[in-house]
Symmetry: C2
Subunit: 410 residues, 2 copies
């Protein structure tokens, strides 16, 4: 069967622009993997009447409603009380939950104030979802023909309880386990990807498959979800077609991250990369070192914003800088080679370009970037002309540098 | 008068977790500046019935509804058609809009396909909002007692049209212009800030003032909005109190950014900073170079992940590394001084620490960070113990480094 699912989030902080409701986006993505597109999402503040109306309306339309927030100990936390009111049932103390809340406070070495008892009270008839990620348990209860599940809004708790209590139950209500895949591309634009995917999406063999993409600038992630008999085999066949279409532009799948992949490949080979960055200004280094264990794969990065630093620290010959300018293929090559030599590393990456908003010329407009990779087999170079603002140009160039290394590492 | 405002966003991509609805968060923040807390926000897909129901419901509850998305040329773009259906009026071609769409295509050097005419058709009676940020104009129309404004979902167009057409009209419906302020803090936690603000928030003189904060990790932004007579003076008085409470932890206000502030101050003084980063791994450099014009304030950053690089490129004495370990105050000082010397800069920043998840010891647990700033008057050092994962520790340390320099620049 197909399920109508709605999401409901509560919290004044979500309506003032103070906090972004990332829980919903995350859950929508996870539900999509099950083949479910959320029908409606509603955000309301910590107001009794608004909340009650929103709960009634959502439960009147949907098979399942997942609600986030309002489960804490303060006066603003109204969820359990409002749901009990909608159902016309009392709140009841759940002893195991009370003991769990008490244990949590003991573990944190804090005194439990009386208002925390509130977190162990649920509408009569509710199924309680113990919370091993935080203090407040969640609960599910039938409201009309809908199942309403209420969870705390703290992202790690919300996500943990969704994985444990919500997604498996929804999956069980669907016909067969859906098979969902994500392939991650670099170097292919969204509209190009969309066009190239048409034959796969329009293939009668793939009728009923949900295709989608996730813009994760500057990457493009393609995803599809298949339900029904033979779902795994059908999803795998689509993966083969997509890989055939995009070739080496597909760098990974599932939860893989480009920088982590590069670090893992370098570490497995016992090799390191040294970085020489001009226009990306430390962004490549920052992406690589964000990966836990990056120190095995990188020990040197140089941000060389001036000709002087390029010449002194990276041994870029001054005549090269004068003849070609700092933004040029020869300088990118010399930077990559200089970084490689300075660190005694197997690989050296050089990036030089014009990120903007100023500094462009008719010959070298803003967005012009030269990249080079020096390695055991010599040095290769790439020239790119990115469109967009400083932030986009820098981000594009940084991922291009990682992708250049990824391709070389095979 | 106080206005009930609801937001409505449409687009399947918003319900699949593919795209985050940043437009709403942005508009909520801007409305809050006017003293308006949005009452409800609804997200629905590109479905005629769902959309019509959501429009009817929102317009039945609110004084003003701002809707985003569904204004483009494709079949999925249903907004104008659905609104016309709700009102029972026809769509009518707006000649000036058609000419504007044509001009836009001519300017982009692209052929206008017939489906683009759709973007110039609006429900009879609508006021059209010309769009100088993109192709599709917006429109406002009365639906019952509510004013419904429909805008394109592309963020730059949505925001531009909100600033031009939505916010001034809403402000005009309020009693007097509200005065809104934002002060930006570093080095004060959210819960501490909340506690320290209590006396100001509870002050009877500030009755009716809306206080809020925006978590912008690792910064905290405090904001307040005052309406009614003497709003500007009252807002200014609150600012004075807040500045007195938090002192030098307040680094800026309004739309200021910490890295941009540091770059501006260095540039004004004709000085530069050189960076020596270990645990932050290029994050400080990346924040600084994200600022347009950063090349006037920075020409060298070194990511020194190994002792060898610290010794060779930053001249950190090997005995110091052996005696104290790489994560120590003496090494942070030597890194800052080494970077300053290598670049011939007025300032040198050094950061060394244990970002985790591994590498901690009982004496130096994960989160231990030493920072140093070398300057014309000598070198100062800071030790910090941050809590959280690798991402948090790195981010905290990078902002701490910028803040250390900000304080020194006065």
């Amino acid at each position: 069967m197909s399920l109508v699912v709605e999401l409901l989030s509560t919290g004044d902080e979500l309506l003032t622009g103070q906090v972004v409701d990332t829980n919903s986006t995350w859950l929508m993505d996870r539900l999509w993997d099950l083949g479910i597109m959320v029908r409606r999402k509603t955000l309301v503040g910590d107001d009794r009447d608004d909340l009650a109306a929103a709960v009634r309306e959502a439960c009147g339309r949907a098979d399942a409603v997942v609600m986030s927030g309002g489960m804490g100990p303060t006066e603003d936390d109204l969820t359990a009380e409002v749901v009990a009111g909608v159902l016309g049932v009392p709140l009841e103390l759940d002893e195991p939950s009370l003991r769990a809340v008490e244990a949590r406070f003991a573990w944190m070495g804090r005194v439990m104030t009386p208002n925390n008892v509130k977190q162990a009270r649920f509408p009569r008839g509710a199924v309680v979802h113990p919370n091993r990620f935080g203090t407040a348990p969640g609960f599910s209860v039938a409201v009309g023909r809908a199942t309403l599940t209420c969870l705390p809004g703290v992202p790690v708790e919300f996500k943990g309880l969704c994985e444990e209590a919500v997604l498996p139950r929804l999956a069980a209500r669907l016909d067969g386990a859906p098979a969902a895949r994500v392939l991650k591309l670099f170097g292919v634009g969204e509209s190009h990807a969309d066009q190239a995917m048409r034959p796969v999406m329009d293939d009668p063999a793939n009728r009923g498959v949900r295709f989608g993409y996730r813009a994760h600038f500057p990457e493009v992630h393609l995803k599809w979800s298949v339900t029904g008999p033979g779902a795994e085999a059908r999803a795998a066949a689509i993966e083969a077609s997509v890989r055939a279409i995009f070739g080496a532009a597909v760098w990974g799948s599932g939860k893989e991250e480009l920088a982590a992949l590069v670090v893992a490949r370098l570490t497995a080979r016992g090799e390191r990369v040294a970085l020489a960055e001009s226009c990306t200004g430390g962004l490549v280094a920052s992406l690589v070192t964000a990966v836990a264990g990056a120190s095995a794969a990188l020990d040197l990065g140089v941000v060389a914003y001036s000709n002087d630093v390029k010449a002194r620290l990276l041994s870029v010959p001054e005549p090269l800088l004068l003849a070609h300018g700092a933004v040029s293929e020869p300088v990118a090559r010399a930077m990559a080679e200089g970084a490689r030599r300075a660190a005694g590393a197997a690989w050296g990456l050089g990036v030089t370009g014009i990120a903007g908003p100023t500094g462009g010329t008719p010959e070298k407009p803003v967005g012009t970037v030269h990249l080079a990779l020096a390695g055991p087999g010599g040095t290769e170079a790439l020239a790119r002309h990115y469109r967009g603002d400083r932030e986009r140009v820098r981000r594009f160039a940084a991922y291009e540098a990682l992708d250049l290394l990824r391709r070389a590492l095979g």
